[in-house]
Amino acid sequence: MADLLITPVKHFKIPITAECISPDFVAGKSLREIELTQVWEGNRRVKLGSLFKIAGEIGRTPSDCTIRIRGNMSAVRRIGYEMSGGSIQVDGDAGMYLGERTKGGTITVAGNAGSWLGTQMRGGHIEVKGNTGDSIGGSVRGGTKGMRGGMIRIHGDCGTEAGAWMQNGMIRIGGNCDLYAGMHMKNGTVVVERDCQGRVGAQMTGGKVIVLGNAGGLLPSFQFEEIRERSKADDEKIAGPFYVFSGDVNEGGKGQFFARVSDNPDLKWNERYLER
């Protein structure tokens, strides 16, 4: 594995759009070629070499490449755009659209990441040790196609609309989640290990949202099904018991919403439906 080291030369005040920081782009290129690549800094075209110090070795194929980024990249967008293999390691924060349309490979972020992480991703693995913004694994604004495959693992908290329009794959959030987890979801799994702010699964038509903490209530368009002892996320069995709801009825949806019984006393009233 060849390592390419990218270090910001300054603190960025203006957003930078750098699709080229991706194993697929750098593979087989020389350092000079990468330095001369044009990127957008705000509304100006600048050379990548003027923003970053680039050193190290470059693999011949994407899967041979490892890109290590040292520094604060929170203003840099679209890192790992459409990557199909290899790996990116960010030792710091990453900006918006990290891993957009990723097909394979791994991205690891030691700090926080911005919104639209893994938008429309098709495969691969993204792991963030810190928190993230909104619409992770979602679709672009107005679009109806979210994440199609792969895995997103967040150790911290995440913003609203996690897994919006998700079509497949898995999102696992270690911390809390803001409103609308699994909104418009069609398939796939979202696991929130701690609390949700509420409105989980709004307008979902399929897939599964599992909340291990407090789910923040229930939308009126969900239907109580049963209490299940455990739930399943991919091959992993998660101990419960869980209240299981299906919905969103407004959309004629067949999505499933699991809320752990022990952390959701406000949903206890559903148990009376079991007596019949």
Binding site: W40, N43, R45, S139, V140, R141, G142, G143, T144
Partner: protein, 565 residues
Amino acid sequence: MPELLIRNGYVFDPLNGIEGERMDIAVKDGKIVESVGRKARVLDASGMTVMPGGVDIHSHIAGSKANCARMMRPEDHSKDPEPKTRHTRSGVGHTIPSVFTTGYRYARMGYTTVFEPATPPLKARHTHEELNDIPIIDKGCFPLFGNNWFVMEYVKQGRIKELAAYVAWMLEATKGYAIKIVNPGGIEAWRWGGNLRHLDDTVPNFDVTPREIVRALCQVNKILDLPHAVHIHPNGLSEPGNYQTTLDTMECARDFRREGRTTMHVTHAQFTGRKGWSWPDVRSGAPEIADYVNAHDHVSIDPGQLIFTNVTWMTADGPAMFALYKLAKTKWFNADVEAETGAGIVSATYKKSNYVNAMQWGIALELALLVKDPWKVYLTTDHPNGGPFTSYPRVISWLVSNQARQRLLDKINKTAKRRLNLPGIDREYSLYEIATITRAATAKSLGLVSKGHLGSGADADIAIYDIEPKKIDPVKEYKAVRKAFAHAAYTIKDGRTVVKKGEVVRSVQGRTFWTKPKVSDDIMKTMIADLEAKFDDYYTVRMANYPIEERYLTASQMITTNAGV
């Protein structure tokens, strides 16, 4: 302004009967002249095709609908960003480009005049604000009259002279160019949740029929002697079996013949040229419509060519859009019902594998190929309904080359291929005919005397494409034709070079055309009295605030006509 001499190009100028002759075009003060002095700047066009600037008769580029669609479709913006350059502003949008980008993209294709075909009169101010900002191209808009309460009341009372005065007042008030009818009476029914599908259905609360509305407005068009024909989008849009309504609409106003001009223009005929009883049974009504157009002089059509891509359906026909939304199951927007019309916007994707989409694609091409006279059929995609206007070069490649069509025919839905007449049609357009359907015939139909030709006195709107007609065989090299039409080598607007090698090098202000028919004072007074009596009841604005002042238009170009009343 310096003089300009375009030397040695192969000139295609159908209005003056020039077909691929090598000649020089002289330009002075923004006009085409017989000759220029020795100091004139020379533009060497040898080995290139010179045509008048393109004239688009039907393209939804501005107004409240276009803006609603922009708001509704942010995902369309992310697909197609366009950075700013030294001469252009930045913009976004694939199917509904932002205001400035619209002008640049038209200019890059060699188009210099575009008409926005559906303006709600109440929101015309908005349309003009956008038109003012669209750079380079000349433009105009057609206000909607087909569902206007005043129109329907006059039609019911049979007061054609007052109706003519009302239309004249409205055209001046909205700075509109021609009469547009969308789903006559049907949108009034839509306000009550219904629709009108046939020409003899009754409009709720008004007791008139679409036939009466169309006939009255065609008569008014003749009385006012407006430059363009009545621009009609018939009832029953996109429904199977609607071709009969289209034929009835064409036939109903046949008697209002205008000397040397057409009475009506039936637009995006592909959407209203379907046979059959249900969706799986849709067949092509193109042969019948083409036969009718071939046999009659009072009507022209444009096909509204479909492109297999993501599109935005956007029309004043609210009920039709709602029906399509239920099929597409994407997202929709209902607008303008509070104005004198309605509007619906739906996002959709046309697929080759979809039977109905494939039929639509074929019906549009059949219409373009079966109408024998290129002066009666114009190139449009009904932007953005059939496809974005940036697909015109692709449509041109299908028209000039049977081979290009056959290649796509092999990829479309098999049942559609079997049921279409298209595989059996081997007509191929010549470049002269392409010049006719994209500029000469449209300019003639719009009554723009200074557009669409390169004769002396015409506006110096010129498109130069990098194809040598003597060396290239469009049938085989259709890809080269497509490439050339997508990026004009030069576009000249009013004598100034605005595009060079497909890139905008200068941004100029285009004019806005509008019509002012002169109606006799007596009739106008009677009509104004009627209008004043009801205006406050019907409108949310005062009558004095309703008309748009001429100074509101950045570059106003008034066309006056003398009405027969």
